[in-house]
């Protein structure tokens, strides 16, 4: 396997324009003759499907949901970045580019990040045209707010439902193409494998989740837009069904996996309550604009928050980082909270929480302003905890939230398998070792609306395709393999439920591959995960049959993949002997406890090539070069 990043030569601000000109075009009349499969219809998938449909391609889309509007992009709250400089605070494409490279702790490709910053303005234009009801000021112009890791206001938002509104925009654009007949949507289908014919990605195998049928679909190219893999940790802010199966099975077919250990822990989530808990709930990071984070100065202070006077409170982010204060990047905010709780300064019944206090903001701005900005978040917090955040401070704790790693892609968003494209959170590309707030929506839509539609055309125009049919041997073979796997899972008839295995894996991952990682812990994870996997294949208990809606069977396939992916994440974290962004190796830190990179040895993308289950995968390195943003120790003081 060779990694060719295909970064175009030339000045960074010209690369994308030059590249677009050099891309081959498909004759408009021929576009309908090409079939493109898009798996996953969240922001990246729906925007890609809509745009490809508009261009005239024949697009087949698949989702395990009943409707594209259920995808987890819908849950993004805070906003979407674009350097429009509407706030006149000195923002520019360069500044967003710089912030993103620095925020990612110098582990992203400069050329990709610059392009992302370049097209982000077009995304806002597109969304407004679709009718996305962004927040506005009294003159009717678009309003912006600031967000973690940035000192300018460049975040566009629709209350705390920005992801929902952007997804509904992309979904409506896709619905329009369904009506026009260029896009077909297959609901309640889960992709279980990729079909590679003569080295080209030519189709997928799905399970129809209602009938249990194993269905083959053929195409000229396949796009994966299946999101991230944070559910490897069991407890995360991801939706329950979010999984890694599509990208994992593609990995096993030869697509390299980039930086699997780069996971993001979000600082403002509602702390865990009890064992019954099925997921963690995120509170938008925008809360940090007006909320102040603190813990009591004394250990074991049992007074209620409102009884603790100012002089006994430690507003630790404001103290440690005077210039960024409560708006430091996510990895920094999360780590400081964990440290304080580890040192016994945490609050609430479990001691694993810190306060996020709005009393000052309410006094300064009035309750109505806070209500307008964060009303639904406050309501949600109230529902879950039965505490009123207008009166008492919220309690928050970090939770796994996003994965920067994903399938390796080149500048064209193509994986190491020709004809297999990966967009949105599912790829590894633009966020380096840490993603800035309000950049996930930006990347998903940039890939789908403005990058993939051009680059995939180049592949289609320059590739010779043999005719393939779903009756052909390569399809039959993969289809049979999946049927066998389903049969195997159903026949084990052990004693432990899928859920129990998943929770156990989650515990290993959180303890050893979570916010702080070290050699000993990671080695422990690498010993325990394969054992758990082995037990799974001998002792998992499924009920029901294969030919009906069977949620246990669905979960079992996903957990089987998490049990392999967890091992790769641990291995990647062990091999990367440095700290960067969200990857914090306790052995490698500065005197102040910040992440300490090792640019001499690890300034590269780690792309892993599958070598067999339980076998050590092959590591390929894509060196990263920084011509424009010179790596330095990140400082938010």
């Amino acid at each position: 396997m060779t990694l060719e990043s295909k970064i175009p030569p030339g000045l960074i601000e010209k690369k994308w324009d030059t590249h677009r000109f050099n891309l081959k075009l498909v004759n408009p009349a021929n576009k309908r003759k090409y079939t493109i499969i898009v798996v996953g219809t969240g922001l990246a998938g729906a925007s890609a499907a809509a745009s490809l449909g508009e261009l005239g391609y024949n697009v087949l889309t698949f989702s395990y949901h009943e409707s594209p509007r259920r995808a987890h992009s819908i849950a993004a709250q805070g906003g979407i970045n674009a350097p429009k400089n509407y706030s006149n605070d000195g923002d520019s494409i360069w500044r967003l580019f710089y912030d993103t490279v620095k925020g990612g702790d110098y582990r992203a490709r400069e050329a990709n990040v610059y392009r992302l910053a370049q097209v982000s303005g077009n995304i806002i234009d597109q969304c407004v045209a679709q009718g996305v009801p962004f927040a506005r000021d009294y003159a009717g112009y678009l309003d912006n707010r600031s967000f973690g890791g940035a000192q300018v206001s460049r975040t566009f938002y629709a209350r705390s439902q920005t992801g929902q509104q952007l997804l509904l925009g992309a979904y409506s654009a896709m619905s329009r193409q369904i009506n026009a007949g260029t896009v077909e949507f297959f609901p309640r289908r889960e992709m279980l494998d990729l079909v590679v014919v003569d080295g080209q990605s030519r189709g997928i195998i799905c399970r129809n989740l209602v009938t249990g049928e194993i269905e083959p679909y053929a195409a000229n190219a396949v796009v994966l837009a299946t999101g991230g893999y944070a559910n490897t940790f069991y407890l995360s802010t991801m939706a329950k069904a979010s999984n890694a199966t599509a990208i994992w099975r593609a990995y096993k077919k030869g697509a390299a996996f980039g930086n699997p250990c780069f996971t993001q822990i979000h600082p403002t989530c509602i702390p865990q309550g009890g064992d019954y808990q099925s997921k963690l709930t995120l509170m938008s990071e925008s809360l940090r604009n007006d909320g102040r984070i603190w813990v009591p100065k004394k250990k074991g202070d049992t007074r209620r928050a409102e009884e603790i006077p100012e002089e006994d409170r430690d507003y630790y982010l404001e103290r440690l980082y005077p210039s960024f204060g409560n708006l430091v990047p996510r990895d920094v905010a999360s780590r400081r909270a964990k440290e304080l709780c580890d040192n016994g300064l945490g609050v609430g019944p479990t001691g694993r929480a810190v306060y996020l206090d709005f009393a000052d903001a309410i006094n300064r701005l009035g309750r109505h302003v806070i209500e307008e900005r964060y009303g639904n978040l406050f309501d949600m917090y109230h529902e879950i905890t039965a505490e009123d955040p207008y009166k008492v401070p919220m309690r928050i704790y970090p939770a796994v939230h996003y994965t920067m790693g994903g399938l390796w892609v080149d500048y064209n968003l193509m994986s190491t398998i020709p004809g297999l494209y990966v967009v949105g959170e599912a790829n590894f590309a633009d966020h380096g070792a840490n993603r800035l707030g309000a950049s996930a929506l930006m990347q998903g839509l940039a890939d789908g609306y403005f990058i993939l539609p051009y680059t995939i055309g180049d592949y289609l125009a320059s590739t010779k395709f043999n005719t393939v049919k779903t009756e052909d041997a390569p399809f039959k073979e993969v289809q049979d393999g999946i049927a066998q796997m389903v049969k195997k899972l159903m026949s084990i008839n052990g004693k432990k439920t899928v859920e129990e295995f998943h929770r156990e894996l989650g515990r290993i991952m959180w303890d050893y591959v979570g916010m702080g990682r070290n050699r000993v812990g990671l080695q422990k994870a690498l010993a325990e995960i394969p054992k758990l996997r082995e037990e799974f294949w001998q002792n998992v208990k499924l009920v029901g049959g294969p030919n009906e809606l069977n949620s246990e069977l669905e979960k079992a396939g996903r957990v089987a993949d998490f049990l392999e992916l967890g091992e790769l994440m641990s291995l990647d974290a062990l091999h990367r002997e440095e700290s960067c962004g969200g990857h914090f190796r306790e052995e490698y830190q500065t005197e102040d406890g910040e992440a300490k990179r090792n640019d001499e040895q690890f300034c590269y993308v780690a792309a892993w090539e599958f070598a067999g289950v339980g076998k050590t995968p092959n590591l390929h390195e894509e060196p990263l070069e920084f011509e424009y943003v010179k790596p330095s120790q990140r400082s938010y003081k």
Binding site: H65, R176, K240, Q277, S278, K279, M380
Partner: protein, 246 residues
Amino acid sequence: MNFKLKVWRQKNREDKGRFVAYEVKNVSPDASFLEMLDILNVDLVKKGEDPIAFDHDCREGICGSCGVVINGRSHGPGRGTATCELRMRLFQDGDTIVAEPWRAKPFPVIKDLVVDRTALDRIMAAGGYISARTGGVAEANAIPVPKPIAEEAMDAAACIGCGACVAACPNSSAMLFVAAKVSHLALLPQGQVERKERALHMVEQMDKEGFGNCSNNYACEAECPKKISVMHIARLNREFIRAEFT
């Protein structure tokens, strides 16, 4: 807390279906209704029985996947909450709770509490959009929108498409769902060009799918997890009449 449950079990679309009684014990009052079902399902799986199928995903009230009629009410006794946000503390210890799927002709039951709501997607495809091609649009601030209008459009756009309004309506009408989309887009300057066609096509598809008419019952608004107002239905009616006669 302990509860007695009566849950609708139906193997597939063709099965007749029936209520089955269960008991769940030691449920935390902070657990959500779906987490209570999770606990019951673990018991069922351990006993080798088929777990109760229900749609769910984000579990924070925004994806619109979940939807259970609980004690006769869409999404249960909470106001402005989806089933996943409903906490068990709203019930009394020892309560008997009845759980059944959305019941409406256009929403056939797939299994247990899971129904097929793709009819709503087909209504969306009939016209629930502004036909703005990717790329060919104006600069975002070229279209100012008065703040009160943008806010009202957002109120309507907050619909999560769960179908609670349909399940709550004695006529199985989807008027609140359709009204939310028509209203959201009709309010905005960007939505003016296709205003008439949108109202006509979406209403036409709604009728074709077999949803009933609105008879001003307002149960939809009362049960909507996003508290979408029936005022939007008034606007839909106006949009429809305007489109028909002007």
